[in-house]
């Protein structure tokens, strides 16, 4: 709709509540919904944890914090490459766009790989979602975050293919910018989850 919005109304532009393009507004709106989803999960976690504070395991008692700390660093790196991919696309740097979209997808997948390793280790020690409230909340929250990263990786893979086909050349950066918003949001959620589930 964006392309012909201007001539459509005989030269007058539509009324815009926000001075940004529609896809970006849409992603912001959708992310509001995602915020509420994770707020529900995190809120439930807090309530359940306060209700059972004496039986709650100490940080590091069950979970492997160093491995996850490295994984957190990996995910933050993917945010950096995401920013670079968007910047490259905006500046018309075709090679950079391709390189950094690919890197983001790969690093995101690496995060998932580490998470799968972590899950299998924990399950091997008999710690599963059925292991009391701690297991229930841990697997549900990190699992849903992992699902979001997975969705992001799928989209990034698609974006990488598009980038190699020249889909983001000539200043056509909007798709990457919108995807980047999602990607950074998922990273931010992880930093919150890492803090409250692993560290506190």
């Amino acid at each position: 709709m964006e392309a012909h919005a201007m001539p459509y109304y005989g030269g007058r532009a539509p009324e815009k509540g926000l001075a940004v393009y529609t896809q970006k507004v849409g992603m912001w709106v959708f992310l509001c919904s995602e915020v509420m989803f994770f707020t529900g999960l995190i809120g439930s976690y807090i309530i359940l944890r306060f209700g059972a504070s004496e039986t709650w395991p100490q940080p590091g008692e069950i979970l492997n914090i160093p491995v996850t700390a490295i994984n957190t660093f990996i995910l933050i790196c993917s945010s950096v490459t995401m920013v670079k991919a968007f910047a490259a696309s905006e500046m018309g740097d075709k090679r950079g766009t391709r390189l950094y979209t690919l890197a983001t997808a790969v690093i995101g997948a690496a995060f998932l790989g580490v998470q799968i390793y972590e899950y299998s280790e924990l399950l091997g020690h008999g710690f599963g979602p059925w292991s009391g409230l701690y297991g229930s909340t841990f697997y549900t929250m990190t699992g849903f975050h992992g699902f979001h990263v997975f969705s992001g990786v799928v989209c990034m893979t698609w974006a990488t293919v598009k980038a190699f086909r020249g889909g983001y050349d000539n200043g056509n950066y909007q798709g990457l910018e919108v995807l980047g918003l999602y990607w950074h949001f998922v990273d931010l959620v992880w930093i919150i989850l890492f803090t409250i589930v692993y560290l506190i």
């Binding site: 001539p7 109304y9 005989g10 709106v29 509420m36 229930s136 849903f144």
Partner: protein, 585 residues
């Protein structure tokens, strides 16, 4: 696909390029109007299903233990020898509520009219994300079918009420329902997804796609109501989805969120459910308020009284709607101090509803009232919504709620709000926008008969429930005759059941009128009601792309009987001021 071609004058028009295949045009369409109509058929179907379930419940309540007519059609697990089993009754209670709230009323209000009306009323060619919109519809369809199919699985459909309080909903051992409960959850997760996708679309469209001149203060109240409703859905639905998934995990992979054995909290489910559930209540009434404001204004030939207050009231309701959920939990064992604060916020949220009611009366005051069918239903809405709103004050008072909580008084209240309120507004909307949707008028005489009978039988069916509630009759009872304090209310049950049957039968009048008019109705002009908003300034039905000439907006939304316009009593939002030039707007 329609494309937009600029005329030499610079004023663009929409041209049909080539005919789309039937499937692209009517099944997997991304045209907001087709999707709205698809939602209309889907939700009317679920309205029928929900109604049928209610009829079965009413039979059992009036004649406990007597074989149902056609009872032989039911399998042994539901009604051996046609006599309803208690577990089947509870499934009926659960699924009647689920279908009516989620698949009938919510889809009718939001799925149908947000899709159909938002682009038309703001002067946009379509939604911001047409394909996302199509996805939203095609997510709602399997959601409904899964819920419906759950009757056929072992153990029957979900049996923990539409609120599905844990642990009853979380442990198959307690309810006897395993698969059905899981299907209920999956169904609502899908519906939630559909609703979130839809809301994202509606909000984005309203923010960024309004026609030139369609300022925030010129948006019709329907758009305002649908916009705020979408925000409520966007923020409330994901919380329900999260809760539902936790409940599903409790049942399937052995988590313990709501099961107390290992520290899980049953009340947490209630908090999550009602954190969603109270905004949901307003999702189910705000659009109705929007339709009614607009139809009352057109029917009274007067601008909406206090437009800004009406918008303010919608916004206030939406904001307050997120901080009152605890009033569903006064007797739940929640800390009574919290109860007090929720009581105060609940009392406050009644104020915007009062403002709206008085403003509707203000709209009618000194008007020139045309009693066509949509107007009658809109007036009926106000008269009945007032009863539902006022009865809400009884339960908002936590100490009196001790007595009426979980009684038929609540059942009466929700039906006055959801049937007398939402459904009356939906009927008003269907009669009002039918000509735009299908290009033909619905029969007004039969519409009026439908209104009169619905109004009468609705009150006969639901008003007596207040009296049963005051006697202390609990809800969701398979047979109320075993209690000494309600044993002599069987006569009231009989009155309610007969009225409910009659109410259901009036639906037949509507159905005949609806389907008959679709094919044989009188051809509709573009603007049969002489209304001001943009959707009436384009042909009925509008073509793909909506506008022959893209609208530019110059006036407020409800400019009826403007003193400077003398040849007619209305002023379309897109009428150019150099053609007609009223002062002010």
């Amino acid at each position: 696909m329609a494309t937009i071609v600029a005329e030499p004058t610079g004023i663009p028009v929409v041209e049909e390029h080539h005919e789309m295949s039937f499937i692209r045009k009517y099944i997997f369409s991304s045209d907001h109007k087709v999707i709205g109509i698809q939602f209309l058929f889907l939700s009317l179907f679920f309205l029928l299903v929900g109604g049928l379930l209610a009829m079965l419940m009413r039979w059992q309540l009036a004649w406990p233990g007597r074989p149902m007519p056609f009872g032989g059609l039911f399998p042994e697990t539901m009604a051996p020898d046609g006599i309803m089993l208690p577990e089947f009754y509870i499934s009926l209670v659960t699924m009647h509520g689920t279908f009516m709230v989620f698949f009938a009323i919510m889809l009718l209000l939001v799925g149908v009219y947000a899709n159909y009306l938002i682009p038309l009323q703001i002067g946009a060619p379509d939604m911001a994300f047409p394909r996302l919109n199509m996805l939203s519809f095609w997510t709602a369809v399997p959601a409904g079918l899964i819920a419906l199919a759950s009757f056929a699985v072992e153990g029957g459909a979900a049996g923990a009420g539409w609120t599905s309080y844990a642990p009853l909903s979380g442990m198959p051992e307690y309810s006897g329902v395993s698969m059905g409960q899981q299907m209920w959850i999956v169904s609502l997760v899908l519906l939630g997804l559909s609703s979130i996708l839809g809301s994202t679309n509606y909000i984005t469209t309203v923010i960024n796609m309004r026609a030139p001149g369609m300022l925030w203060t010129r948006m019709p109240l329907t758009v305002w109501a649908l916009f705020i409703t979408a925000i409520l859905g966007l923020l409330a639905m994901p919380v329900l989805s999260g809760g539902l998934i936790m409940l599903l995990f409790d049942q399937t992979i052995g988590t313990h969120f709501f099961l107390p054995e290992t520290g899980g909290q049953p009340l947490l489910w209630q908090h999550l459910f009602w954190f969603f559930g109270h905004p949901e209540v307003y999702i189910l009434i705000l659009p109705a308020m929007g339709f009614v404001s607009e139809i009352l204004s057109a029917g009274s030939r007067k601008p909406v009284f206090g437009y800004k207050a009406m918008v303010g009231a919608i916004v206030a309701i939406a904001f307050l709607g997120f901080i009152v959920w605890g009033h569903h939990m006064f007797q739940s064992g929640m800390n009574p101090v919290l109860g007090t604060s929720f009581m105060v916020s609940t009392m406050v949220i009644a104020v915007p509803s009062a403002i709206k009611t008085f403003n509707w009366m203000g709209t009618m005051w000194r008007g020139n009232l045309h009693f066509h069918t949509p107007m009658l239903f809109a007036i009926g809405f106000v008269m009945l919504f007032v009863i539902g709103g006022l009865s809400g004050i009884f339960m908002a008072s936590a100490p009196f709620d001790i007595f009426i909580h979980d009684t038929y008084f609540i059942v009466a209240h929700i039906h006055y709000v959801l049937f007398g309120g939402a459904l009356f507004a939906i009927f008003a909307a269907i009669y009002y926008w039918f000509p735009k949707m299908f290009g033909r008028m619905m029969n007004d005489r039969w519409g009026k008969i439908h209104f009169a009978l619905t109004f009468i039988f609705f009150n006969l069916a639901f008003f007596p429930m207040h009296t049963q509630g005051l006697a202390g009759m609990m809800r969701r009872l398979y047979d109320t005759s075993g209690y000494t304090h309600t044993a002599d209310l069987q006569g009231t049950h009989l009155l309610i059941t007969i009225s409910a049957f009659a109410l259901f039968a009036t639906g037949v009048i509507f159905a005949i009128n609806f389907f008959g008019s679709m094919f044989r109705g009188e051809k509709a002009p573009p603007n049969p009601w002489n209304a001001t908003s943009l959707e009436w300034q384009t042909p009925s039905p509008p073509k793909h792309g909506n506008w022959e000439q893209a609208p530019v907006v110059y006036h407020g939304p409800h400019e009826y009987s403007h003193p400077d316009v003398t040849d007619k009593d209305w002023l379309a939002q897109n009428e150019r001021p150099d053609v007609v030039s009223p002062a002010g707007h």
